[in-house]
């Protein structure tokens, strides 16, 4: 994966194994991987995500030991886990909140990649695999949410599977195929359980490819400037194992706050009512991490076009390496791009807010404007339309045009240059590169 290996087997057993299965060498090379020395804390989210995946796998395998995927037994078995299984409440709360924490980390990871241009050549494949992981994550989270088989689970399954029904010609038979019946029912639950167990291993396999694709060009870094020499890098271990370890510890504190003090903060009370195919809950919304897409779906008044807008929103992420025309990677040196990026982040949050509210609700309580087409101009409907427009404009207009028209700031010669130029580095030399002394 990386350059020449520096691993030297020290014992006879290691030499014997190394010529048969060089697995110790493989691990040693991973730990020794030359990593840019200027990575900031936004770069620790890769490690945090690995921690999240591990947590979900361990808790998920345990939950499967107590869960009953049958239509009649699913809801009760979740209650059984919560009330009767030893520490079942803890493991389920870790798993349920772990999904949200996983998405929190992945969104920061994606925004970091966009800000620092980590998707640009030669890291396009790395980005595509990452985007694929994100899509499989959404599917996995959806399958898992359905397994609770409460009202929100059932109607979420109904709405999401009906999205496929919107596809012309094959839509209805595709939906029936997904359901295994005339609608969402016990067979649907069974297959979602099977797929929910499968998908994390697909993610794990994609993560292996993601790290492989990372180790070919190596890490991007906050300057976006390529690594020029060995003095620009540090071995992954101990420098980044420790930094990532610290970040994971801080992340775990936030995680624990949710698990122990507000485990239902991101849930919906309606999901404590068993699935009822005859009554839709009065207010259905997806989990917070899917709200922006939900807002985009509802912003479009046509069923098929809404579903297509939803799909296009995801496709934009995949297409980003080919939409961005700027040759400067990091937005540190692209002041205009940085401004549009910050608006984009707020736009995504605004879309999330829109997704959480009814379309007809006023954006600011008590404020009414005038009726424009099918809704009041100050309603969430129109806010979500404007926010959706910016979402697509960011990818399809701003990113391609800005790269050609803006004047970027001068990027540094190398990763080391800005560090050495910093006032804190004076007096020059002595304190600037302590790692070179040893």
């Amino acid at each position: 994966m990386s350059g020449p290996s520096s691993y030297e087997p020290k014992t006879a057993i290691e030499r014997w194994l190394d010529s048969r299965l060089p697995i110790v060498r493989f691990g040693a090379d991973l730990m020794d991987f030359p990593t840019p020395k200027n990575l900031n804390y936004w770069w620790t989210f890769g490690g945090i995500l690995a921690f999240c995946l591990g947590t979900q796998l361990v808790t998920g395998v345990i939950l499967a030991m107590h869960y009953d995927p049958s239509g009649a037994g699913a809801f009760n078995s979740v209650q059984h886990i919560m009330r009767d299984v030893n520490y079942g409440w803890l493991i389920r709360y870790i798993h349920a909140n772990g999904a949200a924490m996983f998405f929190l980390a992945v969104y920061i990871h994606i925004f970091r990649g966009i800000y620092y241009g980590s998707f640009k050549a030669p890291r396009e494949v790395l980005w595509l695999i990452g985007a694929a992981i994100y899509v499989v994550m959404m599917a996995t989270a959806f399958f898992g949410y359905v397994l609770v088989w409460g009202q929100m689970s059932f109607w979420a399954a109904k709405v999401i599977t009906n999205l496929f029904g919107a596809i012309p010609v094959i839509g209805p038979s595709l939906a029936t195929w997904i359901w295994g019946g005339f609608t969402v029912d016990a067979p649907t639950l069974n297959r979602f359980y099977s797929l929910h167990y499968l998908a994390p291993f697909v993610i794990a396999a994609l993560v292996v490819l993601h790290i492989w694709a990372l180790h070919v060009p190596g890490n991007n870094n906050p300057t976006g400037v390529n690594v020029k020499s060995k003095s620009d890098t540090l071995p992954f271990h101990p420098y980044y194992t420790v930094k990532d370890g610290f970040a994971v510890s801080v992340f775990m504190i936030l995680f624990a706050v949710f698990v122990f003090y507000m485990p239902e903060a991101m849930g919906h009370v309606d999901n404590n009512i068993p699935a009822n195919p005859l009554a839709t809950p009065a207010h259905i919304v997806p989990e917070w991490y899917l709200l922006p897409y939900y807002a985009i779906l509802r912003a479009v008044p046509d069923k098929l076009m809404g579903v297509m807008a939803l799909a296009a929103a995801v496709v934009c992420i995949f297409a980003l390496p080919w939409l961005d025309t700027s040759r400067v990677r990091s937005m540190r040196y692209r002041p205009q791009a940085r401004l549009y990026f910050i608006i984009f982040v707020f736009d995504c949050l605004l879309l999330g807010l829109c997704g959480a509210h009814e379309p007809d609700e006023p954006f600011i309580r008590g404020l009414t404007g005038f009726q424009l087409l099918d809704g009041d101009i100050t309603s969430y409907l129109w806010v979500s339309r404007i926010a959706s427009l910016y979402y697509f404009a960011y990818f399809l207009l701003i990113t391609p045009i800005l790269g050609l028209r803006e004047t970027p700031l001068p990027a540094p010669e190398s990763i080391s240059t800005p560090v050495l130029a910093h006032p804190a580095a004076a007096p020059a030399g002595a304190a600037a590169a302590p790692e070179k002394k040893g």
Binding site: W179, T183, P277, P281
Partner: protein, 181 residues
Amino acid sequence: MAESVAGGSADHSPDPSRRDFIHIAVVAAAAGGVAAIAWPFVDQMNPSSDTLALSSIEYDVSKVPLGQQVTVLFRKQPLFVRHRTPVEISKARADDHADLRDPATDESRVKPGKDQWLILIGVCTHLGCTPTFGGGEWGGWFCPCHGSQYDTSGRIRKGPAPKNLAVPDYAFETDTKIKVG
């Protein structure tokens, strides 16, 4: 491999088209085999025989009081049996030629002489939620998920749903008993 490049193909395959034929035949046979075995793995997800067997139900509509609706489970989906008031019927008829997204007359959505009984699949044609009875501007149904509104004939009037609430196949077996499906 290097040998075949250096030595040319003439030594090993005097008739290249014969070798091509074998390649194509092998690939075609393998593809056919994969397709044949793939179908059972795909089709197993379609509704099973016992699910398909849940095909028809009977219901006595006289149990529904005037101006109200009963929701019955039909093929695991809600079935609306609505006993419409004369006002609701005349409102629906008055809008027969309004600007409808999915044009249909109210008469075409009920059985002849049974105008008061509106039998509909209670599944919003947008994304499958169950609309709530009596809501919306037209007094028909209101879908809580994405705000689709239906009139007292179950026709889509506002919101993202593309079609009217579906009328299932049904027939009056007696004056008050229907068989659906």
